[in-house]
Amino acid sequence: MEAVLAGIKVMVTDEGYLTDFSQWTKEIGAEIAKEDGITMTERHWEVINWIQEQVKAGNGLSVRGIKKSGVIDIKEFYSLFPGGPLKLATKIAGVPKPKSCI
């Protein structure tokens, strides 16, 4: 469905994930974060950039994978994106939510 984020018309899923990464901008990411109660800092963006790079490279995302990467320790990851860090961070990054086949 269509949504307006940071003044731009974008396509999102029912849960608010962008369906087309090419529509993503930093402003859109910040607005999604705000809706989930997160104020973005430089540290947040570092993690978001890393996630975007992984997805571009076709790599899977998991909390364990993030721990192994050394980009951020897990306690900090949870404190930056409280609740479901991977679910929130992917939404802000404009990439698909980690999924199964059904």
């Binding site: 899923t13 029912d14 076709g58 790599n59 899977g60 998991s62 909390v63 364990r64 994978g65 721990k67 192994k68 990467s69 897990i74 306690k75 990851f77 949870y78 609740g83 479901g84 860090p85 991977l86 679910k87 939510k97 980690p98 999924k99 199964s100 086949c101 059904i102």
Partner: protein, 410 residues
């Protein structure tokens, strides 16, 4: 003479040997397949073994039976692939290849999570992705008096992503039949946002969990298994008690891939999604669970991929451009208990939806809907696997690429 070497004689490797031997000129091409293990397991059967639906002998056969004549079958450990030199080092010899097919699969890596493969491994902490795990779990379930059953998976990607849910549904049926369902509390624990994660499936199948009284804990990123307190602990500090933990550990490609420096973080080989050629080496192709393509790790995917890969190997040999054809097609039966099953048919782009299969408007199988007939389909599949799939025989009416015919797409 030229040499084509296939690494791994599992589902994908065996199919490729069967496809290619009749198609590659015997006077020009040697085909060698390497696998250190003698037994070929029917891995979908590991789901049924714990519930006494299948016996040991129904899920394993001698692998050699399925390797065609004219293919050199080498039962040795593979030490390393040297892709720059087009060589494979085995335990006591080195093979040269002109073309290499990597079909080394994926396997569980319980050591990736602290405590998982600890003192209670196969005592009250079980996997069902190995023959040993599945068999030990069967023996445990036969005598288990009930309590908290946790069915859990660690992270994606896993082989047969629906298997943990199917296990949960079959467990519900199993304990009901034994008249002890009231003594068993079943909880499904997932690292994802829900038991179902695709919109159509969530809509169509959400009722199953309620109907079977299965609790769900989502967004659980496991950090450790606490064997002293019988708890799984996640990175946010959340703890879940169990009396019996059935877990799917992290799945990884073979260590051979890491030793050869050819894999990603999880030892899966970077592979072109549509041609199945290695992204790094032109004379290397990858098929089945060993790839990093974003398709399900499943036998049906390997089957469909094997048809494209066969064509691409022949095109490569002739020096012609490869077909960018493979679409991630998967076709999977999903057991829902009480002798019913679902069927899903999907690819890289199309999520599973309702409809009829394989003949549009007729079926006889129904997509994304429970039916008894689908369950018979799943049971019949074991015969199809041993007698058709491994031998590279095409399944009637089911093409390599997914069709949208018969599917209810908005």
């Amino acid at each position: 003479m030229k040499n084509l070497v296939i690494l791994g004689a599992g589902t994908a490797g065996t199919m490729m040997a069967n496809h290619l031997r009749p198609k590659l000129n015997k006077k020009e091409w040697n085909i060698t397949i390497v696998d250190q293990y003698k037994t070929h397991y029917y891995q979908p059967g590991f789901l049924f073994l714990p519930f006494d639906i299948y016996t040991e002998s129904q899920v394993k056969k001698v692998g050699k039976k399925f390797i065609p004549k004219g293919v050199n079958y080498v039962q040795k450990k593979i030490e390393q692939i040297l892709p720059k030199e087009s060589k494979v080092k085995l335990e006591d010899e080195t093979l040269n290849y002109d073309l290499l097919i990597i079909a080394t699969g994926s396997k569980i890596a319980p050591e990736e999570v602290e405590g998982m493969k600890g003192k209670n491994w196969h005592k009250n902490v079980f996997d069902f992705y190995t023959y040993e795990g599945s068999l030990n779990l069967r023996n445990k379930l036969r005598e288990w008096k009930g309590g908290k059953l946790i069915v859990h998976f660690t992270e994606m990607p896993i082989k047969c992503p629906v298997a943990p849910l199917e296990f949960t549904f079959l467990a519900d049926s199993y304990f009901r039949k034994k008249g002890m369902r009231d003594k068993v509390d079943i909880t499904f624990v997932t690292p994802l946002g829900g038991a179902f994660t695709k919109p159509k499936a969530t809509e169509a199948l959400g009722y199953l969990l309620k109907e079977k009284d299965i609790k769900v804990i989502t967004d659980f990123a496991i950090e450790s298994v606490d064997n002293n307190n019988n708890q799984i602990v996640d990175y946010s500090g959340q703890k879940v008690d169990y009396d019996l933990l059935v877990t799917v550990p992290t799945n990884m490609g073979d260590e051979l891939i890491a030793r050869s420096g050819m894999g990603d973080d999880l030892n899966f080989v970077p592979t072109h999604h549509n041609t199945l050629q290695s992204l790094d080496y032109k004379n290397v192709f990858v098929i089945g669970d060993a790839t990093n393509v974003p398709a399900s790790k499943a036998g049906s995917v390997a089957h469909f991929a094997s048809e494209t890969l066969t064509d691409n190997i022949l095109l490569y040999v002739d020096g012609k451009p490869l077909k960018e054809e493979f679409d991630g097609h998967a076709n999977c039966f999903i057991e829902t208990g009480n002798n019913k099953a679902l069927l899903i048919d999907f690819n890289y782009k199309q999520e599973p939806v309702e409809g009829t299969f394989p003949i549009a408007g007729i079926g006889p199988l129904k997509l994304l809907k429970e039916s008894l007939f689908n369950h018979w389909g799943k049971l019949a599949f074991r015969w199809i696997y041993w007698n058709m799939l491994l031998k590279g025989i095409a399944i009637p009416f089911v093409g390599r690429n997914m069709t949208t015919k018969g599917k209810k797409i908005n």
